[in-house]
């Protein structure tokens, strides 16, 4: 669906938020997620320890297998990792071991690392109508010439802050805070069909 090894649909009942002929919205299985802040030196070492280098280009993402490092700001990244064997629970042990590896590599270098595995959930928005559906609530130009595959950004979904990542021409991954998910899912599920 997302054309990435990182995201897979959640198996739980209710994982399907919206299913139409032109677009579907599905909750993704939980991931290990780390919020990282630091300068270029710290980012270099963090990438080596994490297993996917932290992109220095604005709005860039670097997916490597079941890991990805997403640029959020000039000194801020979101690190994502899926366990090797699929699980429907938050992969705590993976989050813990990645956290420890990055901390060890950066022992003497100023930085901030926070485990946000349980803070975020991800929605996979896929299909030829994906951009038009998102544009009912996201005020960005999602044409591929402006927002190409691979681009990732924080932005607003009406009033909720999200991180939007285009993983394929017709597929976006929307990362949002757990507590915002019902609001976002509700607005997506009830978006008027003639708007998409």
């Amino acid at each position: 669906m997302s054309d990435l090894a990182l995201y897979s649909p959640a198996a739980a009942d209710g994982a399907s938020v919206l299913k139409r002929s032109d677009v579907s919205v599905t909750r993704a299985a939980p991931l290990a997620r780390l919020a990282f802040r630091g300068d270029a030196t710290a980012a270099g070492k963090a990438g080596a320890a994490f297993g996917a280098s932290l992109p220095m280009t604005p709005l860039a993402a670097n997916p490597v297998g079941k890991r990805a490092a997403l640029w959020l700001g000039p000194d801020e990244w979101l690190l994502l990792a899926a366990p090797e064997t699929e699980t429907q629970d938050v992969p705590w042990s993976l989050a813990r071991s990645l956290f420890d590896e990055v901390e060890t590599a950066l022992a003497t270098i100023p930085h901030a690392l926070v485990d946000v595995s349980e803070r975020n959930v991800a929605l996979i928005v896929s299909g030829p109508g994906a951009a038009r559906l998102l544009n009912t609530q996201v005020f960005l130009d999602l044409d591929e010439s402006v927002f190409p595959v691979g681009q990732v950004t924080r932005t607003l979904f009406t009033k909720a802050e999200i991180t939007l990542w285009r993983t394929a021409p017709d597929t976006f991954v929307l990362e949002c805070w757990n507590s915002f998910a019902p609001y976002i899912e509700g607005l997506l599920a009830t978006a008027p069909e003639d708007a998409t």
Binding site: P58, L59, L72, G73, P74, E76, F139, L140, T153, R154, T155, L156, E161
Partner: protein, 101 residues
């Protein structure tokens, strides 16, 4: 919708992603205890408030999260230029002359 260029993201984004942080280039006094009440009040409250170009702090709060500075026209609301925090304030009079031409 007003589009604002973020110098960190290198891209134009809708106004709703941003917050204005007031006039830029106002240094906090190094020794507040050495100031009398009037001087402290001047630092806290008195702003240039021009009819024309003004350098302001803006934050891309729902994007990269970083502060930057922008020169904005207080009458037309148009953005003349943006620059990163720490970079010098452009010559506002020269920018105003360019704009008038």
């Amino acid at each position: 919708m007003l589009l604002i260029h973020c110098p960190w993201c290198g891209i134009e984004r809708p106004e709703i992603e941003f917050r204005c942080g007031g006039e830029a280039h106002i240094d906090r006094p190094g020794q507040p205890g050495d100031l009398d009440d009037r001087q402290w009040a001047d630092f806290l409250y008195m702003r240039s408030n021009p009819k024309g170009l003004l350098a302001e702090r803006w934050r891309h709060v729902h994007g990269c999260g970083r502060f930057f500075n922008a020169v904005r026209h207080t009458v037309s609301d148009s953005f003349v230029c943006v620059y990163k925090t720490g970079e010098p304030c452009p010559d506002l009079e020269a920018l105003a002359r360019e704009g008038a031409q």
